[in-house]
Structures are given as C-alpha cells and as structure tokens.
C-alpha cells in the first residue's frame, strides 16, 4: 500500500462516521427560510436559534434534562452503594454459595427487560409508583448494581488481606473496615462504575418509555423518541431536536473520555 493511503482511507471513514453529527448541527442553526431556499447541505446564511428555541419551549426541554439528571444521578449513586455492599460480602466475606449468588446477579443483568416489563408495570400500578421517577430509579438501581456486583466482586476478591487484618487488629468492625478501608482504596474502580451507571441509565429508552407517561416525568431519550416523525415537526425543528439529544451525550463523553476508555477495557478483560 502506498504511504499515506492508509491514513487517508481511515480519515475518510472517520469523516463519514461523524458526518451525521455535522449535518444535524448545520441544519439545527438554520432559519426555516434558509432551509427551504438552500436545502440541507448549504452552510447556514446566518445563525438562527429559532428552531432550537421552539423545540426547547415546546417540550419543556429543561425539565426533561432535569428528569434525566435526577434519575441517572440517583441510580449511579445508589447502584454503586449496593454494588459495594454486595461485593464486600462476596469478594471479601467469601460467603458460602457465592458462585450462585454471582450467577443470579449476572442473570439479573442479562435478562431482557421485555420479560420483566409487564409485571413491573402491573406492580408499579398496584403500589402507586407508576409514572414516577422513583419507580425507574429503583428498577435501574437493581439492574445496574447487578452488573456492578459482578465486576466489583472480582476486584475485591484481590483485595490485600493484610490491610484488612491490620484494620481489624486496630479494632475496626466489619462496617468500619468497609467504610474507611475498602471504599477509599477502591475509589478509582468505584468512580468508573459511577460514571458508567450514570451514562447507561441516561441512555435507557424502553422502561422509561413505558413508566414515564406524563410530560413532567419524561427523560431526554423518551421525549425525543416520542416526537420522532410527528407531523408538526419540520426539517429544522427535527434537526434541532436531534442536536439537543446529541449535546448532553457528547458532553459526557468529552468530560469522562479518559475514565470511559479505561472503563470499557477494564470491563472487557473482566
């Protein structure tokens, strides 16, 4: 292969991959008249935030962002907490039958949500939790912590015993040892988990679509998914909607990039 041909081919592919983001951004800041006159591929003849503002107001996007933040943030914190408690019992406590407990957690995480959704919907209605953010928080806390337990148990299984023994000799009980020895030392892994849980929950669509029916409770993916293809949306407003869905996701990616790439690989090698 000629020198330079390979980087060029790889760069062309990279451009193709990011092109949809570019086209969306380009058209989200066009005026309607500009779009009608010049089509989707021309540069905007001036910045117009009309479509973005229209969409923002129409779906009360600030509220949707807040809902997504509250749900994903709560799930991330609660699921890390549960994962730590479980992994402490499994990885350090080495409770009997831990293999089976781990299999149960893994199964809980792999089970398709379709096979849980109707009973969960039914139970949520029966308990008055239907159409509340709390219901979604509880469900995803369980699903994410099931994965977290699996990963963290392996990490805590390698935890240096001497440190724990020293803590016990100093008179620390089990809970003290967890709180002031295990958790601080495992901080790097815990923060990777926290970020993953946050982003995974942010991206969820199926269960939030079913559980969050009222406007005030919907998350970002749900409101975008519901509006897709609606007759009232025109070209610039649809691209504005897409852009508003892209921006937070890309922002998280840029903020957490290092942790994410590290985490993806940690997860892959177990």
């Amino acid at each position: 292969m000629r020198r330079g041909a390979l980087p060029a081919a790889l760069a062309v592919l990279a451009l193709t991959m990011v092109a949809p983001f570019g086209i969306v951004a380009l058209n989200a800041v066009k005026s309607r008249r500009d779009y009608t006159a010049n089509g989707p591929f021309s540069l905007p003849d001036g910045l117009s935030f009309e479509a973005l503002a229209d969409f923002w107001v129409r779906v009360d996007y600030g509220q949707k962002l807040a809902n997504s933040l509250v749900i994903s943030g709560s799930v991330a914190v609660l699921a890390v907490l549960l994962s730590v408690l479980n992994a402490y019992a499994i990885g350090i406590g080495r409770v009997r039958g831990r293999m089976w407990v781990l299999v149960l957690f893994l199964a809980a995480n792999t089970l398709p949500q379709e096979a849980l959704v109707y009973p969960l919907y039914y139970l949520a209605k029966a308990t008055g939790l239907y159409d509340t953010r709390l219901a979604v928080i509880i469900i995803f806390t369980v699903i994410q912590s099931a994965f977290g337990t699996y990963l963290l148990s392996a990490v805590l299984g390698q935890f240096p015993r001497e440190i724990l023994d020293a803590a016990h000799i100093d008179g620390a009980g089990r809970f003290r040892a967890l709180w002031s020895v295990v958790v601080p030392i495992s901080r790097p892994t815990l923060s990777v988990l926290l970020i993953f849980f946050f982003i995974w929950t942010w991206n969820e669509f199926f269960l939030p679509l079913i559980f969050l029916v009222s406007n005030d409770n919907q998350t970002v993916p749900v409101v975008l998914g519901l509006l897709q293809g609606e007759k009232m949306m025109d070209a610039t407003m649809s691209s504005a909607a897409a852009l508003l869905g892209i921006v937070p996701a890309v922002a998280f990616f840029l903020i957490f990039q290092r942790t994410l790439t590290r985490g993806v690989t940690v997860g892959a090698i177990k």
Binding site: M1, L6, P7, L10, A11, L13, A14, M17, P20, I23, V24, G39, L82, L85, N86, G93, V95, V101, L104, A108, T110, L111, P112, E114, A115, L116, V117, Y118, P119, L120, L123, V142, I143, S145, A146, R174, L178, F205, F206, L209, V220, P221, L224, G225, Q228, G229, D234, A235, S238, S239, A242, G245, I246, A249, V250, F253, T261, T265, A268, I269
Partner: protein, 279 residues
C-alpha cells in the same frame, strides 16, 4: 469457629439487594412466565390456557419473521462491527504517532455515546422522505429497503465499540511477535490473521457476546425508526412483545414472546461461555 461466624455475618450485606432483586427481577420474571400460560388482557382475572400461547407462537408467521430479523440484526450489530473493528483496530495500530490514531478512534466511537433512541432520531431526520437530506428514497418506508437501512444504521452505531476494545487489547500484544513475523516475511494480512486475531481472542469473545445480546434485545431504534414496519418488515421480538402488551392487550401472548426471548438470550450466553472456556 470465627471463620464460620465471619461468613455468616457477611450475609447481612447482601440483604438490601436480596430484597430488591426479589421484588424487581425474580418475582416479576416468575409472573411473566406464569402469565405466558394464560389469556389475559391486563385487567380482570387471567384465564389458564396451558401451552396454547406457545403453540400459537410456533404457527405465527410474524413471530418467525421477527426472529429472522433478529438474525439480520446480529449480523449488523455483532458480526460486521467485529470484522470491520478488527481490521480498523489493526490498521490504527500500525499508524505512526499517537495523536492521529486516538482522534480517529474517538470519531469511530462517537455514535456509541448517543442514547440509541437519539441515534434513531438523527437517522429518522436524515432519511425523512419529505424533508430529510438523504430522503431521496423512502428508505425506511419501503418494505424492500427498510431492514437493510436499519442494519446499515446499526453498523454505524456499533462500529466504535469493538474498535476501542480491540485497540486496548492490542496494547497487550508483545511487539516481538510482530517483529518475528516481519522477519519471516509475513505480509500485513498474514500477521493480522496469525498474530493479531489469536492474541486478542478474549476481547473478540466479549465483543461478540455483548453485541449479540444487544442485537437480541434491540428495541429503541426499531421503535423510533419504523415501529416494526412497513408491514412486518422490521419487526423484532422485543417490539412484537411490546405491541402485544401495550397495544393489543394480549398480555399472555406478549409474555410468551418475552419468555422465549429470555430463553434464547440465556442459551446464547451459555453457549458463548462454553466455547470461550474451551478456546
């Protein structure tokens, strides 16, 4: 004595999760399986009908088609991204410098950061037949093109994941292996096939397993792009069960579909783990 007491005490830490897993996973899944043996609209008392729902599934052409579409999506979401990802990761790895490979890798990975429903919104807009920039043909509305279009979108969406994982895996590979192969006069493809692929086999397994499961569960893009249509052209089991639960009020039938899907996912997982152990 102290060891057994210690072991017992640690169970306490599993208690909160035990209660939650029971309430959110175990009991609901049990209810789902039980409902699959009934005729039930969601209100009133379910009527026990034994295996009728499963017998009906076997005869239901839509159900079989939905699984065929799932196979197509496994090709688009697991097999093609893995093959392309291997070549791309190996190619990026041979590039000189540090900056360019990581910028390119980030570009390939970018679609992966989107919520999958938002990725669907992006493509729904691009391909919209009345105003989308690429809507010259009604790609998603034409039964001849709809599935292929969804497949292409999913390749775009998934590609970055294997690239990132394989590139990380390649850092483990001993450069001496490549030097030895180069000394023997092995071509790029031969080195790729005999050094790169065997060395990152664990990563290949992980990617294939996680992507296959993702393909079996796929719902968001189908809901956003096509709602299973036109006709039945992009119907998948997860959307088919959703349809039965919430639109047709055939809860029993929906539960049977969901149960079959769960069993298929379980079997795929076990099969992968078996093969991985032996490899």
């Amino acid at each position: 004595m102290s060891a057994t007491r210690a072991g017992r005490g640690y169970w306490l830490y599993l208690a909160p999760s035990a209660v939650l897993i029971l309430a959110v996973i175990v009991v609901p899944f049990g209810m789902n399986v039980a409902a699959s043996f009934t005729r039930w609209s969601g209100v009133g008392a379910p009527r026990w009908i034994g295996l009728d729902n499963y017998a009906r599934l076997l005869r239901d052409e839509r159900f079989w088609q939905s699984f065929q579409h799932n196979v197509a999506l496994i090709v688009a979401m697991a097999i093609v991204p893995t093959l392309l990802g291997l070549v791309l990761a190996a190619a990026l790895f041979t590039l000189r410098g540090r900056r360019l490979p990581s910028v390119l890798r980030a570009a390939y990975y970018l679609p992966q950061v989107l919520p999958v429903a938002v990725a669907g919104v992006v493509w729904g807009w691009l391909l919209n037949p009345s105003y989308g920039p690429l809507g010259a043909r009604n790609w998603l509305g034409d039964p001849d093109y709809a599935l292929a279009t969804v497949m292409a979108i999913m390749v775009w969406f998934q590609l970055g994941y294997p690239v990132v994982i394989f590139m990380a895996g390649l850092q483990r590979v001993d450069p001496a292996l490549y030097e030895a192969a180069a000394l023997d006069g092995a071509s790029w493809w031969r080195r790729f096939w005999h050094v790169t692929v065997p060395q990152i086999r664990p990563e290949i397994f992980v990617v294939l397993l996680t992507c296959t499961i993702a393909a079996l569960k796929v719902f968001g893009p189908i809901y956003v792009l096509t709602r299973g249509g036109p006709g039945n052209a992009t119907m998948v089991p997860s959307y088919f069960s959703y349809l039965n639960f919430f639109e047709r009020l055939n809860v029993g039938y929906g539960s049977a579909i969901a149960t079959v899907l769960a069993v298929v996912i379980l079997l795929v997982t076990v099969a992968f783990l078996r093969v991985q152990e032996r490899a």
